[in-house]
């Protein structure tokens, strides 16, 4: 199943992700070690990155741990932030049908934005197993992310350097994602709805409590706009 050809092809496909995950993971790890006062902070950086494998979440987690954000808030925020993952599987249902459960479990567990993109692109060499290709891509990406975050945390907790301002990596990541999303016209009204809902809720709630009401208002508004936006989608 895992022939040299399939592994080589998967590794070559994963190279762009190598760059991205090592760098972003490193920044997230430095921030994690800088904000959290716990014994063995690098171990926790390793564990959090290996289990949830989610970029934006990794940045948010350091703030949550620092402030001891209530777990219900954590669950709701994780849900809204990662709801997009719930759509990815639809295009992979067919391909993953009938494979051993542990392979399916691993492929689902590791389904990040980047891994999903590579699996959909699917550069399996002719005559090889596309499941082997997907598993290899998923494992490479998983490894890059864990190494990036853990190395960042080890560096951040071991080397004393002026890391003031490195937290901007999270803001920059969100700005980049938003810019990409707004290239597509159909995403602009939803983005503006999220922005507006948060600003409006900001008038009534404190910074610590604003995200939950914002998400509720945002969802209500998006449901109200459904007729208009769903129509646009079919046109586009």
């Amino acid at each position: 199943m895992f022939t040299r050809r399939v592994l080589k092809s998967a590794w070559l496909s994963s190279l762009p992700v190598l760059m991205g995950y090592l760098t972003m993971g490193f920044a997230a790890g430095v921030l994690f070690a800088g904000r959290i006062e716990a014994p063995a902070v690098s171990f926790w950086a390793f564990l959090t990155s290996a289990t949830s494998i989610s970029g934006a979440l990794q940045f948010l987690m350091s703030g949550w741990a620092q402030q001891r954000t209530p777990l219900l808030d954590v669950a709701l925020l994780t849900f809204c932030l990662n709801l997009r993952y719930a759509m990815y599987g639809f295009s992979l249902l067919e391909r993953f049908k009938g494979i051993p459960w542990w392979q399916k479990f691993y492929l689902i567990w590791t389904l990040t934005d980047e891994t999903y993109a590579l699996e959909v692109e699917n550069r399996t060499p002719a005559g090889e197993s596309s499941i082997a290709y997907c598993l290899a891509v998923a494992a490479f990406d998983h490894l890059y992310w864990v190494i990036g975050v853990t190395a960042g945390a080890l560096f951040g907790s071991g080397v004393r350097f002026d890391n003031r301002g490195i937290d901007f990596a999270m803001t920059a990541l969100f700005l980049v994602i938003l810019t990409d999303q707004c290239r597509e016209k159909r995403n602009r009204i939803p983005a503006f709805t999220g922005l507006g809902a948060t600003v409006v809720c900001g008038l009534f709630f404190s910074l610590e409590n604003v995200l939950i009401p914002s998400m509720v208002l945002m969802l209500i508004l998006l449901l109200l706009l459904r007729g208009k936006l769903a129509k646009k989608e079919t046109e586009a």
Partner: protein, 116 residues
Amino acid sequence: MNGMTLYLFQLVLVTTAVTLLLRAFPFIAFGRGNRPPELIRYIGEVVSPAAIAMLVVYCYWAYFKARPFSAAYGWNLPEIAAGVLVIALHLWKRNALLSIIAGVILYMFLVQKVFP
């Protein structure tokens, strides 16, 4: 087990469980090849840009609160300049890594050297 260790342990469990369930959703609910209802597909499409926009507002608000508008913090110029650089560079070059690294370097430089 001290309080932080317990919290981190719970954090791992909650974030992993929610993320894993989301990723598994199509396989659990539609494993037999049913198509998802229109409403679910609609929410899945529109919630992502909305949530990211919300987080951008949240991040900026956190900066404006921690570094109130004043000469001491450079009138929030570091946050605004770095944000503009990230967006402009990303519109131009479409390279996520480049945009983020450039933004972080400019921001760190501004808060450490220009408005310390």
